[in-house]
Symmetry: C2
């Protein structure tokens, strides 16, 4: 094309559309009119070698966009690597190569290795719109991905990003299926396993809908945004690390799918397994322990669901050559006392430091998991838990954890938010359960994870007897406004604490 009527200079719109590329064009722009773009939802934009599909927003009455100019959202700007005033080419998007593969799955057919590679390739290249991603996720929901498809999707996702090669020898790892606030065992497990002399290069995620991800909590204690080279140096000197995986480009399709998966919130064993194992395979793990809390308000709701998910994890891990074990645990209530980055970090430190009042449940879970991880190495002959306890009690785990923090850029003490208020029991009785979802929401409304020091501190746990008027938990917030907002929600519906009147 040489007549130039399908090009426009681009500027930055300064609008963050949460990773979705968007282009803003004026309705009187000649290109918008000439190409009939105004009736489209998607437009292809090319700049040099790069090309993306962006959603089109027509600007009707704003004067911030000059005539005959296209503005790009942050995501579109960064993906294209644009500079202000550069001339981009705009065209009608052709259906992506994977459209027919997605269509096959939508109509109930099966997708093979090649189909999965095409779909994942188009996801990573941003050639699929959010609607396309929603359709693909919906078509894979429930049990609609069979085992062979799950394996194909896992391999395709692993192959679409970077892979870390740790050379010969064991590379141990753990992963929690999730849904349990405060279940921050990872820093303790990594410290113990590394202190035992094994490699455990742990990559973790930030919270998307929870009050804290492991990366958020760890960031309270040490820097976590390391690149692969820096991560490698930490592991070479200390055996273990706890870094944020989001910047490492391991299974990038997973990060892009999660953006659409979270608001839809469909369960899909196939996609969950592909998500976990594509990341583990890309991170170079040889053996992985899966922590699977099961409970009515956890991610895995009951034992049948746990069994089906376990079977699929085992089968797919074999296919991608990872030794895998699943540890099913009680998911009926939060773990530890703190919920929120700094409050959880406090619990982690208390366990590592063998404080008298360290949360017992967090300590026991961490020892169970560390023991199970050590047992992945045959040399430990099933004595993993004893070894783990020895390492924790001797102070070797604490020393190793501090060394890892220093290697990642320096240890720091957690700081708890200044404003706080307690919520009390309306009636007396025995606590029978705590709603993980409601208590997590209170911590989020108080500011977690964005406000590192905000969250919830639990005073009681299921099994405890309490009196009416006795404090159940404390809300921490950086500002009075945030504190009252969380309090309003906490008092608006059913209490997250279920209290029975049995003796």
């Amino acid at each position: 094309m040489t007549d130039g009527h399908h090009v426009l200079p681009v500027i930055r719109a300064g609008i963050d559309t949460y990773r979705q590329p968007v282009v803003y064009m004026r309705e009187d722009c000649h290109l918008c009119r000439a190409e009939g773009f105004s009736v489209l939802t998607q437009v292809r934009i090319s700049l040099g070698e790069r090309s993306i599909i962006a959603a089109l927003n027509v600007v009707t009455g704003a004067d911030w966009l000059p005539p005959e100019t296209a503005a790009l959202s942050d995501a579109a700007w960064n993906l294209l690597g644009a500079s202000a005033g550069e001339i981009a080419m705009f065209s009608h998007p052709e259906p992506p190569a994977s459209a027919s593969a997605i269509r096959t799955k939508v109509y109930g057919g099966r997708i093979d290795d090649e189909a999965c590679r095409m779909i994942v390739g188009d996801i990573v290249a941003r050639r699929l719109s959010d609607l396309d991603l929603a359709a693909f996720i919906t078509a894979c929901a429930g049990d609609r991905l069979d085992l062979a498809e799950t394996i194909a999707l896992t391999r395709a996702m692993q192959g679409a990003g970077k892979t870390i090669d740790w050379g010969q020898g064991l590379v141990l790892d753990k992963h929690c299926v999730g849904g349990l606030p405060g279940n921050r065992t990872t820093p303790i497990v990594v410290a113990i396993v590394a202190a035992a002399g094994y490699r455990i290069p742990k990559t973790s995620s930030r919270a998307i809908t929870s009050p804290a991800g492991t990366a958020d909590t760890m960031e309270v204690l040490a820097p976590v945004a390391l690149d692969i080279a820096a991560m490698r140096r930490v592991v070479e000197s200390e055996g273990g690390c706890i870094v944020w995986g989001g910047g490492l480009d391991l299974s990038p399709a997973d990060d892009l799918l999660i953006r659409v998966e979270r608001p839809l919130d469909f369960d899909s064993d196939g996609q969950l397994v592909a998500s976990i194992l594509s990341k583990k395979a890309a991170a170079g793990s040889t053996h992985v322990l899966i922590d699977m809390p099961v409970g009515p308000t956890a991610k895995v709701r009951n034992s049948e669901a746990a069994k089906a998910l376990t079977e699929r994890l085992l089968a797919v891990s074999q296919a991608v050559d990872i030794g895998l074990r699943v540890a099913v645990s009680d998911g009926s209530a939060p773990v530890g006392r703190g919920i929120g980055p700094a409050l959880e970090a406090q619990d982690v430190l208390a366990v590592l430091r063998r404080d008298f009042d360290a949360p017992f449940d967090l300590r026991e879970r961490a020892l169970d998991l560390a023991g199970a991880v050590l047992n992945l190495a045959q040399a430990n002959h099933g004595h993993g838990r004893d070894i783990a306890r020895e390492i924790l009690e001797s102070g070797a785990a604490e020393a190793k954890f501090l060394a890892i923090c220093e290697a990642q850029g320096g240890f720091r003490e957690p700081k708890i938010a200044p404003h706080h208020a307690s919520e009390v029991a309306a009636v007396g009785g025995r606590i029978t359960a705590i709603d993980n979802r409601r208590i997590a929401k209170i911590a989020k409304l108080a500011g977690a994870p964005g406000r590192k020091g905000a969250g919830v501190l639990l005073f009681t746990k299921p099994g405890d007897r309490i009196e009416a008027g006795q404090p159940l938990y404390e809300i921490y917030a950086e500002t009075r406004g945030e504190l009252s907002w969380a309090q309003d929600y906490a008092r608006s519906g059913a209490s997250p604490f279920q209290i029975g009147d049995t003796p």
Copy 2:
């Protein structure tokens, strides 16, 4: 809530997000921080009695949005009926009531009357995000809606908008399943049926992805944006009308679903039937003829697909008490000569005026359909086609059409675009087929339907023998730029004309 920290004044962003409500907030806005909105994709906004779910876009580096202010997209602004500076309330969206019904369908379950009412209610109230809509559409794709579900969805969609009551007696109607460029029989059929003394209050759509909808073509000849009262006056005086249905709020869920269905482009017999029949039932039609063109590049690809769709249309029409017949027709090539609003209007007028060179295929199809519509009325004893031909040949149809145009606001002659160029055959031979989708795209790139006078004029049809170098079709455009853009595409791939070398 009285502390006021979840409210913000709103302004109009002047951004048209194609019916999706979007809210723009600065990343340093206290509300964005306090509520953790920045990690959300959806926010609930309430203003007075109205409440919508909007997608959140965080504004990072633009100075057009003042501090502590939220800007609304055109769709959000209009849905809330906002005025500049009004104080809106913002909150985390609770899952909509229909979330579990959609989830049931996604996981392979069935949706009943109540579930369909909840889903459609949430669609119309804008409580579902585009991702939710994409999930619902995907879950209904192919044959995933059974007959009972299709009936439930049709009734729910019909019940969610306005209904027109025409009183006692027959109300005839026709609908084309679509996919055939230039197949503009409706104005001719309406004129004939109204001239025969029947009521045929036709509502039509504008093009979304095609080069012209019936409303676009009719608008070249007369105003079409009438409200229900004006439509009623036209029908009371002339028996028939051809108006744009988009402004009448008949089955509004359909309009909202179509916005997401079109880019996804999944076939779903259930949704197609619910879309057609909910509109017809809401429009008060008692008898409907369905024109179903079948061909490899039409909407319905083959006779098995036609059979399945016909069976479902018949069963659902019975359930909603509409007398329905399906007329299957040849969908292997465009109809008439013109493609694009004014070029099609020219064809329609030529047939009505009995011009010597009026397109024969359009005339025959219109007579077939008008005859079949007349046969829906038992009084015609199956002689509909003879009656229709008589009415057309006598000039009564032309007179009735002009009277309808005058009643709708005044007849006007079509104006064809000034720039044009012909495309010639690369080889000689007999034309065997014309690709409906490619020829439609050329018309769209030339400017149709936005530019009423733009489009394609066909010189030849399947069955014709042509020589190399002979003109096959002419492209019409309002500007040289648009003309060359369509020409570039026309010459870039396979020709839309398939030419065989048999004698």
